[in-house]
Structure formats: C-alpha cells, structure tokens
C-alpha cells in the first residue's frame, strides 16, 4: 500500500489491519498520523472551550423588543447596532476605492461618533468644521446629520490624499491614518488626517 492509498482509505484516522501494516513500515505516515490526531484533539479541545460562547444578552433583549413590535403590527424595531456599520463600512470603503482610496482595518476599529460630538460638528459652520480638521471630499453630497454620521478610522494612501488636495506634512510610509465621516447612506463625506 502506498502512502497515498493509505491516506485515501482512512480520512477518519481509524486504522484497520491493512492500514496498520502500512504504518509499521512507513515512519513518515506514522509521524503524520500523530500530527493529525493531535490536531483532531486540539480542534476538539477548542470546540469544548468555546462551547459556552453565545451572543451577549442584549441581543436577546433587542430581538425580543423587535418581536413584540412585529407582533403589535408594526415593522420590527431594528435595533441600532453595528450591523449597519459592519456591512456598510465596507461599502463606504468601496466608494473610496472608486476614488482610488484603499481603506482597511475598518470593521473592528469603526466607532460611532458620540452624539454630542456629532451635534457639535453639525451645528458649526464650515469654517468651524475646518477647525475640527475635517476636509469635505469632492464626492460629498450632504452635511452629516447628528443622527446618521459615523466616524471610521482608516489607512489612506498618501498619494490619494494629496490628489484630493489634503495638505500633508512630510512623513514616512505610504499610508496615513485618517478619520472619515460617513453620511446617512454610508458614503464618505469628509476626512480628517490624524498623523
């Protein structure tokens, strides 16, 4: 029996007599079998350790609210959670790609701007917006409202920011850390360089 035949016949790692015969004469397969069994044990251990992982309690509470709302005849009250962001931030990033901007590291680093911060930004004039450091993007179609705006931290290629007319200080590296203000539809409206 060749090594290939041996492995093709025992994907479940349970050797019969014939397979055991091969193992007696093939140290390489013995070693590989040992690793496979160790991996299976590791995966089983990992599964056991994560067995109790579950969605946080607030998910259940929010869904229950949605259920009651739906049963009351209205549309389910969609909890304002990260679903929107985690799905729309990549979409916003795609918009950036159209502009030639590559955004990354958005999902886990994305954060809502606090309401008070947004209110402050929304209520100030454009001159004050500049004070905040946000520079409107050419594609901007709206002034972010207090309720809808989200702030996303991204890495933007230096060349793209220069092309957009964003003044940059001399620095090393091809990418610059920046915050992007997203409008109601998830489209990028303004950018603020952090470095």
């Amino acid at each position: 029996m060749s090594c290939r035949e041996f492995w093709n016949r025992m994907p479940e790692l349970e050797a019969g007599d014939e397979q055991l015969g091969h193992l007696r004469e093939c140290p390489a397969c013995v070693a590989r079998m040992g690793h496979q069994r160790m991996l299976a044990a590791g995966l089983s251990h990992l599964a056991g350790k994560r067995q109790d992982l579950a969605a946080p309690p607030q998910v259940e509470a929010e869904l229950l609210t949605a259920f009651r709302s739906h049963m009351a005849g209205s549309a389910p009250a969609l909890p304002h959670r990260w679903m929107g962001l985690s799905f729309w931030i990549p979409a916003a990033a795609a918009c950036f790609l159209v502009l030639g901007v590559v955004a990354w590291g958005v999902g886990s680093r994305a954060s809502h701007v606090s309401r008070s911060h947004i209110v402050q930004f929304a209520s100030i004039e454009s001159a004050d917006a500049a004070d905040e450091g946000f520079i409107p993007l050419p594609s901007a179609t709206e002034t972010p409202s207090a309720d809808d705006a989200d702030l996303v931290r991204v890495q933007v290629p230096r060349s793209v920011l220069i092309a957009l007319g964003v003044p940059l200080a001399e620095g090393s590296g091809d990418a610059v850390e920046a915050e992007v203000l997203l409008g109601a539809g998830g489209a990028p409206e303004a950018v603020r360089v952090l470095q």
């Binding site: 060749s2 090594c3 290939r4 492995w7 093709n8 994907p11 390489a28 397969c29 070693a31 590989r32 690793h35 496979q36 160790m38 991996l39 299976a40 044990a41 590791g42 995966l43 089983s44 251990h45 990992l46 599964a47 350790k49 994560r50 109790d52 992982l53 579950a54 969605a55 946080p56 998910v59 259940e60 929010e62 869904l63 229950l64 949605a66 259920f67 009651r68 739906h70 049963m71 389910p76 969609l78 909890p79 959670r81 990260w82 679903m83 985690s86 799905f87 931030i89 990549p90 979409a91 990033a93 795609a94 590559v102 955004a103 990354w104 590291g105 958005v106 999902g107 886990s108």
Partner: protein
C-alpha cells in the same frame, strides 16, 4: 390541540420546529425565546469562527433571528430543519460580509498573524495544541483558512455537525465535505508548522511525509 400543547409543556416533550414556529407566529414570546436560545449559540460561534469578529458574530446572529421574526426567511420544514435553514441565512450573511470586506479582512488577519507570539524554535506548536497558546494559535489558524475550508472546520470540527448536515447546508456532496475537511486539516497543520519555523514553511512539512 391546546390540550396537546399544554400536555407537551407539562411533560417537557421537545416541540418540533413547526410547533414552535406556529406558536411564534401567534405571538408567543416563549416560543421565540425557545428557538432563539436553542440556536443562537451555534450560529454565533459559527460566525465567530468564520470571521474572527465578535461584533460581526453578534450582528449576524441578530440579523438571522430578525429574518425569522419578519417571516421573510421562507422556511419550509419539508426541505430541512430550522437549524439548517437559519445556519444557511447566517452563512449567506457571513459570506457577504467576507466578500465585501475581503481586502480589509485579509489585512486584519495578516495583522493578527503578525501579532501572534512567535513560538521559539524548541516549541512544537502541534505538540502544544492542548495548551492555551496552542489553542489560540489553532483558533487563528482556523480563521486564516480559505473560506471553503474554514466553513467545514467551523461546522464539522467546531460545531460537530455531521457531514450530511454540512453538505446540505453548503449545497455540495458529502464527499466534498469530507475532502475539504481533509484538506483543511492539512492546511492547519502546515500553518501551525510554519509558526514553528517560518523558513521551513510548506515545503518542509511536505517532505515530512505529506503525499496528498
């Protein structure tokens, strides 16, 4: 009918998916919570194992059950179990998320990889699979697998779904699940070996006996 339902509750006879859904449609919160509490954990963990993100796992879990509440999921008990159907919704959401954020996700995984504590040369990551660091390395290795291999590991190895169930969910033959799983495990071993000595990489592992 009411008497039967009452009796089932009293005797703790598990209700079928159809019975629970029927009660749910009538506005029975308890039925909804029964379904949710039974299935949210596996769906949450599947998403977590696929994306490596607790935030996305929460979002997907929520979206799956919102679809159930809205009755727009089109579940048909004749075509499979409710669990399988909800897993299917979760999988679609996960794949959509991974596709949309493919570039970012890859970079995040890369960042995680770089953040791994490098095992010293005398440590064997495979031999340490039952220890905390080994388990963590294994978890990260799973998340870094290509999608089609990651999902069979997440379903069959980590959620202990049988091959037939996974095949139904993935829409492929059982043999495909089996071969993907086999390939996935080989890839996991390669990744863990590379952690031990990045210079050796795949080539060294193959010369150590891999023939497939």
């Amino acid at each position: 009918m009411l008497k039967v339902n009452h009796l089932e509750k009293e005797m703790s006879i598990p209700e079928t998916d159809d019975q629970l859904l029927l009660r749910m449609r009538r506005g029975d919160e308890e039925a909804f919570l029964t379904v949710y509490r039974k299935l949210q954990g596996p769906i949450y963990r599947f998403t977590l194992n696929m994306t490596g993100s607790a935030t996305v796992a929460e979002d997907v879990t929520q979206e799956v059950f919102l679809a159930l509440i809205r009755q727009d999921c089109g579940y048909d008990s004749a075509r499979g179990t409710l669990a399988g159907y909800l897993f299917g919704i979760a999988r679609k959401l996960v794949l959509r998320h991974l596709e949309r954020s493919r570039l970012m996700a890859e970079q995040e995984i890369d960042a995680q990889e770089w953040g791994l504590p490098h095992a010293s040369a005398h440590h064997d990551p495979i031999a340490e699979l039952l220890h905390t660091e080994g388990i963590e390395a294994l978890r990260r290795a799973v998340v870094s697998l290509p999608k089609r291999y990651r999902e069979v590991v997440a379903l069959c190895d980590l959620e202990e779904m049988d091959y037939a169930g996974a095949a139904a969910l993935l829409g492929c033959p059982v043999g495909t699940v089996r071969s993907r799983l086999h390939r996935a495990r080989s890839l996991l071993l390669e990744k863990l070996q590379q952690k031990r000595d990045p210079k050796l990489g795949v080539r060294a592992w193959r010369t150590a006996g891999s023939v497939i």
